[in-house]
Amino acid sequence: MTNTSIRWGARLAVVLACAALPASGAIAADAAAPGDTVTGDTIVLGQTAAQSGPQAPIGASKWGLEAYIASVNARGGVAGKKLRLISYDDGYQPAQTTALDKKLVYEDRVFAIVGSIGSPTTAAVYKTLNDAHVPLLSMGSGSPIFYEPGLKYVFPSWPIYTTDGKTMGAFVKKHFAGQSTAVIYQDDGFGKPILQGIKSDLGKVDVEIPYVPSQVDFSSAVIKLKSSGIKVVMLATIATSGAQILNQMASLDYHPARILTASACGYGGIFSAIASLDGTYCTAFLPPPGSTDSHWTEFADGMAKYAPGHPADIYAAWGWLAGQITYAGLEKIKGPITRDAFVAQLETLRNLDTIAGKVTYTPQQHEGSCCQLLWQAKGGKWDIVPDSAFNGSAMK
């Protein structure tokens, strides 16, 4: 046995050395990804969005993007070229996103990654994509890391999460001045910037309660707030946790002013999930579902026409927004459609009118949308709260 394993090892080493040398010599490390210039008559776009697993609901963004692309193609496409979307399900797992984005870029040769969903998933790939000069547009996240200067190929389009917090903070300062406040926040790159935004506008909050998404029982958090006599509760939570907390509040006979973050109230079933929703505020950068805002009606019609069977909800609207921005950049390119030309044109966009309001990119600043407002739940639907718009940029 001894001899065999030595023989084994020796053979192995020889084989590997022989194979590895030519192979690694032949392939030089290439920084920029292939497919820099669009040559055919199709511009292929890539997306990763969870269609399975607990985060599957927000993956519906895929259908909004599909609908927008179909509407562009119906109008004749961009510069005589059709758009095509390849969307993969990453299950909200960063490891999957890493693999699938390699597939998109190196196998499918997509021109840009557009409207991918999630903070941790996008965090896994944004640096690599930026290094490979692949544009990454309008990801479904407002995490501050994507807004850092120097990321030439990264174009976030949501208001940064800090803005979300500032919107709440400014509103509370104005309308609930002097009242005791509390924040329940998800203890990660989503909840913490919101908390930070709230504090930067409000000065301080009286109680801060972190949680993790796997937590299902929020009794003690709610009891704590109730016994401390907190009058205003801000929730930097995802949809499920937000619903659990609000339901818990109702069951404990506790009725403070409640303000939810945008990500927690976009889904269609919220009014049946939370019986006590009336009066609750929610930050938003999109018009409320079902509103008569012209952008929303255009989107809703587009969904009905090009993505039948998929509801025109907030998640789909995220995809629609990604489509709008991509189209605006592509449309302005004169000459060959290259990634650098695309990025250069995106950086000239000023006050682009989108479903999420005005979007601006400059060579120095890729913040995109800066502005938010508040909705309030009334009688089973959301109304825009007048005088709640927050227009200050959260960027330094």
Binding site: A23, I27, A29, A95, D187
Partner: protein, 327 residues
């Protein structure tokens, strides 16, 4: 003899894969990544098999060890530019230390307690990685610098592929050798009969902890390679789900066999990728496969890969290395 021929051909095939891909076209980046990732999974599967298949102890939190290894390597690399070799060593050791803390009370317990304690360990690693964001970057993870192995730049997909391949081969050899010597036999002995093993002079608790440490070390080292391969480490990648995938690899592979574990890794990886488009499909298939394997094909893939001896339940069969061939 024939088995050796097959094994050598497979290795040659793996070693030549980058060239083949090169000839087909410049398509290697994605496929090399996928295969490299599979190599890393196979290492973890072998490490878990060493624990479950050989020493009869269960771990439902094995991705916790992988996570520790990955984070150790990633953080050392991000903050001090540490080499892949150092990352593997540090990752393996950190996982080993964790297994020591975990395994010590666990070995005094009945088998199922260990399952629950390791399950909790997997969850805790996740939670702590998420919480301790000054070190781990929280949910936004750690980005690594370019991979360097012993001063050699291995940052390209091809080179990283060879790193993963060699790591897998080395793991196979190490585990193969280990199971054919005193410690490996002691693992099997405590799995088969603790009382008899003790009577033969095998210290039960110490041997169980040793099996745990070996397994965790390999899983941690694999995690370090994974970190460099992906260039990014985040808590979401190491949840219960991925622990269960490793678990499925070992069970479907048949437990107690290296080719079985590798085969199990292939099957699970294939199912996971093929069934990804339908929510819940891969869980259904893998769960169903586990139940069917246990009920009707107790030898798993192992029995199928080695038809010459009848399978005798979910039990260890000695590999070639364990059978004397010196004479």
């Amino acid at each position: 003899m024939q088995r050796h021929t097959i094994a050598i051909s497979l290795i040659v095939l793996c070693a030549l894969l980058p060239l083949v891909l090169q000839l087909i076209g410049e398509r290697q980046v994605y496929w090399l990544f996928v295969v490299s990732e599979f190599f890393v999974f196979a290492i973890v599967a072998i490490s878990l098999d060493l624990l479950m298949g050989r020493s009869g102890q269960i771990s439902l939190g094995h991705s916790g060890f992988v996570a520790l290894g990955a984070y150790a390597a990633a953080i050392l690399n991000e903050q001090f530019g540490a080499d892949l070799a150092i990352g593997m060593l540090a990752g393996g050791c950190l996982a080993g230390i964790a297994s020591l803390i975990l395994g010590f009370p666990a070995t005094r317990l009945r088998g199922h307690y260990l399952g629950i304690v390791t399950l909790g360990f997997g969850i805790a690693v996740d939670q702590i990685a998420l919480k301790w964001d000054s070190l781990t970057g929280g949910d936004q993870g750690v980005h690594l610098h370019k991979a360097v192995l012993l001063g050699l730049d291995v940052g390209t997909p091809v080179r990283m592929y060879y790193v993963a391949l060699v790591a897998l081969l080395v793991t196979v050899l190490l585990v193969w050798n280990l199971t054919g010597t005193r410690v490996g036999r002691a693992f099997a002995a405590i799995k088969d009969s603790e009382v008899a093993a003790a009577a033969m002079g095998v210290p039960i608790a110490r041997t169980k902890v040793l099996a745990f440490i070996c397994s965790a070390f390999l899983a941690g080292a694999a995690g370090a390679i994974y970190a460099f391969l992906a260039g990014f480490v985040a808590p979401e990648d190491f949840g219960i789900d991925s622990s269960l995938l490793f678990f499925a690899m070992v069970v479907i592979g048949g437990m107690g066999s290296i080719p079985g574990a590798i085969g199990g890794a292939i099957v699970v990886d294939a199912v996971k990728n093929a069934a990804a488009t339908v929510s819940g499909l891969s869980l259904t298939i893998l769960g169903g496969m586990i139940v069917l394997v246990v009920l009707f094909f107790p030898g798993g893939l192992k029995a199928w890969l080695r038809p010459r001896r009848a399978a005798t339940g979910l039990v260890h069969e000695p590999d070639d290395a364990a059978i004397p061939q010196d004479a």
